[in-house]
């Protein structure tokens, strides 16, 4: 009895994202049974790598998945969303490139240093947002509107108004494939981040404190939790995720374009969190839900491409799917539905009662 319950408990909140993935998978398989086939190709450097639609989906969603992880924590603690993640990623990416361009030779060490620099600056801006939210009690969406407005320009300024490119085999490894490993590196990075978050949850009380603050801030405070610090921390964690996503984005292309890097990713990120079954108003969260949500969004996009829908039209279809999902999930619809089911059951029970009476 308890085993059944625990499986239900684990999967219950993940119902919507899993169902969404299920529908998309079935849809694609019907359309094209070979859709998810994985082939082995050889990339430019002559290494054997995996390729195919499935790989595209999982690879392409990497930045989104990482950002969704951080956004989940911020949403859970602060009950609002950070709409500046794309701009912040551009800043992080710019810093990354700037450091790389200022050294003689790009080695493993310099890449790590550049990454750390990107991390630091992303964390500083995260702290800026976090202070506005936690100390000045400004709504997250408004507070992050500031960075949304000027973040990309700051990124531009960091590189002195250029969109410099960097060439390096190390970056190549970071952004596409490490020689000898057929799985795209960004996918591995997502797994690594997920593991890091898992460790964070295991070795600190982050999850408990964050959820408490999000669900009932006054009760959390009465138990001694420093809600201000938790909220600030959530933004700093998001900053780290932003840095990782930004550097992946840069490494893929080998250049930083402040205008286009992860453009409009904030909306997709918030969507991923919502699809993942997390409440946008904060509280309990499931990181795995957000990650799946990211893949749902990417799968939807790739599915549409595979159906030869032009990239510009994709947005419209995405919108329809989103609306369907949220309408199903809306409390009013759920209530009406359960009432409907309840009425049906009652009618059926009454009917069987009557037939019993009739028989007796």
């Amino acid at each position: 009895m308890s085993k059944k319950r625990s499986i239900g408990q684990i999967l219950g909140p993940l119902a919507i994202p899993l169902i969404a993935i299920g529908i998309l998978v079935i849809f694609n398989l019907i359309r094209d049974p070979e859709f998810f086939s994985i082939v082995i190709k050889h990339n430019n450097d002559g290494n054997a790598v995996l390729a195919g639609n499935l790989i595209s989906i999982v690879n392409g969603a990497s930045e989104l998945a990482i950002l969704a992880m951080g956004m989940t924590i911020v949403t859970a603690a602060c009950g609002g969303q950070d709409i500046s993640v794309g701009a912040a990623a551009a800043i992080a990416g710019s810093m990354f490139v700037k450091v790389l361009k200022s050294v003689q030779e790009i080695t493993g060490v310099t890449v790590v240093l550049a990454f750390l620099a990107a991390c630091v600056i992303a964390m500083i801006f995260g702290a800026f947002n976090g202070t506005l939210v936690a100390v000045f009690k400004i709504q997250p969406m408004i507070a992050t509107l500031i960075l949304y407005t000027c973040g990309r320009s700051i990124a531009y300024w960091i590189n002195g108004g250029a969109t410099p490119s960097v060439e390096s085999s190390i970056l190549n490894a970071w952004g596409s494939f490490i020689p000898g490993i057929p799985i795209p590196t960004p996918v591995l990075i997502v797994i690594l981040m997920a593991i890091i978050f898992g460790l964070l949850f295991k070795f600190t009380s982050l999850r408990l404190f964050t959820q408490s603050v999000g669900i009932n801030e006054s009760a959390a405070k009465l138990n001694g939790i420093n809600a201000t610090w938790i909220k600030l921390l959530s933004f700093i964690i998001l900053g780290v995720c932003v840095a990782v996503a930004g550097t992946i984005g840069v490494s893929r292309l080998g250049l930083i374009n402040h205008e286009t890097l992860l453009l409009d990713v904030e909306m997709d990120t918030i969507l991923a969190v919502a699809i993942g079954g997390n409440s946008l108003g904060g509280g309990r969260f499931r990181l795995s839900g957000s990650i799946i949500g990211a893949y749902v969004i990417q799968m939807l996009t790739i599915t549409l491409y595979a159906m030869k829908v032009p990239s510009t039209d994709v947005k419209a279809y995405k919108a329809i799917v989103i609306v369907i999902l949220v309408v199903i999930g809306s409390p009013v619809v759920k209530k009406k539905f359960s009432k409907f089911v309840g009425d049906l059951r009652r009618k059926r029970a009454a009917r069987s009662e009557n037939s019993e009476k009739g028989a007796a």
């Binding site: 969303q81 506005l132 000045f136 009690k137 400004i138 709504q139 969406m141 408004i142 507070a143 509107l145 500031i146 960075l147 949304y148 407005t149 000027c150 973040g151 990309r152 320009s153 700051i154 531009y156 300024w157 108004g161 909306m267 918030i270 969507l271 919502a274 946008l280 032009p310 510009t312 039209d313 994709v314 947005k315 419209a316 279809y317 995405k318 919108a319 329809i320 989103i322 609306v323 949220v326 309408v327 809306s330 409390p331 009013v332 619809v333």
Partner: protein, 343 residues
């Protein structure tokens, strides 16, 4: 009992206070620009240009003001505007007439307003998600209509586009000695009419005051007898309608439909509303404030350019900085007011 004398001068309401701060800062900024930057700022045409270039932003900001006062948010406005432009351009080019094109613009805006309003008000779905979907949908539809930019070919419309209202005595003398009159596009008149209409709606009409009520305290509003759902629904419908008008003005300004039209306009509109003293939490805001918020936002960009900060990033950075300033200012001002009240 005698201690409770009514204060001689009533303190400002929250709305008025924030609006006044914005207006003061705007004029202060402009006057400083006139003194230190001179140049174009000394000509009244500068203001004319600001108005000409931003008619659709002004109207969209009014729409957002209404929605935000009611406690909601609408991030689809830019996309809907763009869709309206593309649709009307293509319609006119295929031989339509101007009158119907206006109806088309209003119709599209209205449709979005009705659907989004229904989902938000009656199905109680979060406004952010609904209008995000609306934004995606509208952008997608724009590119489905046409991938390539479409220029207006309609003769009648082109005339409309190029007509100007001229006021000679507000003009200036150019370097070559010619007297150039003050020129305003027709769209500006439309925009000003919208501002006035929304102003009266919010001040004098029951529906307008109800927006303030549901944004101020939704539970109270309900207990006072206001139909909260219907009121909220109507706020989105009106917002949609205004987007339709904004789209038409946009078309009158640029004369072309483009997939990237009005990109980011929603955030500019929100920023304008915030600068003008509208709170995202609802219940506070004024369309006059928003108007000056828009002017402040757009003037800052001109000031940046004029002061020699030519690099393209300065505009956004100063805009962001200004936004930061206003947001913090508002939070501080309101917090101090609240402290005084409770006791």
């Amino acid at each position: 009992m005698e201690d409770f004398k009514i204060k001689k001068r009533e303190p400002f309401s929250d709305t008025k206070l924030l609006m006044t701060i914005t207006i003061c800062i705007f004029f202060g900024m402009y006057i400083l620009a006139m003194i230190f930057l001179k140049g174009g700022f000394l000509h009244f045409q500068q203001i004319g240009d600001l108005l000409n270039d931003n008619t659709s932003l002004i109207i969209v900001a009014c729409a957002l003001t209404i929605v935000m006062i009611g406690g909601g948010i609408d991030i689809s406005v830019g996309a809907v505007t763009s869709l309206v432009v593309m649709s009307c351009v293509m319609y006119l080019n295929s031989g339509g007439n101007i009158f119907v094109s206006i109806l088309l613009a209003l119709g599209i805006g209205l449709a979005f307003g009705v659907v989004q309003g229904f989902l938000i008000s009656y199905l109680e779905i979060q406004p952010f998600i609904v209008t995000l979907a609306g934004m995606f949908f509208a952008r997608g539809m724009t590119t489905i209509l046409s991938d390539n930019p479409q220029k207006v070919e309609h003769e009648g419309f082109k005339e409309l586009m190029s007509s100007r209202i001229e006021i000679p005595w507000l003009g200036y003398t150019a370097n070559n000695g010619n007297k150039i009159p003050f020129r305003l596009e027709i769209g500006v008149i439309v925009a000003i009419l919208c501002v006035i209409a929304v102003f009266f709606l919010l001040r004098k009409f029951r529906l307008g005051r109800n927006f303030y009520a549901i944004g101020g305290n939704q539970t109270s509003a309900m207990m006072l007898g206001i139909n909260v759902k219907r009121t909220r629904f109507l706020s989105y419908v009106i917002s949609g309608l205004l987007c339709g008008i904004a789209g038409y003005c946009f078309m009158m300004h640029t004369g072309a439909g483009n997939a990237t039209n009005a990109a980011g306009m929603e955030m500019n509109a929100i920023a304008s509303a915030i600068i003008g003293g509208t709170l995202l939490t609802g219940g506070v805001g004024s369309v006059i404030g928003t108007f000056f918020g828009t002017m402040t936002l757009t003037t800052i960009k001109k000031i940046v350019v004029s002061s020699g900060l030519n690099d393209p990033w300065w505009q956004s950075i100063t805009t962001g900085g200004m936004l930061c300033f206003f947001i913090i200012l508002q939070s501080v001002v309101l917090k101090r007011r609240q402290k005084k009240r409770v006791l």
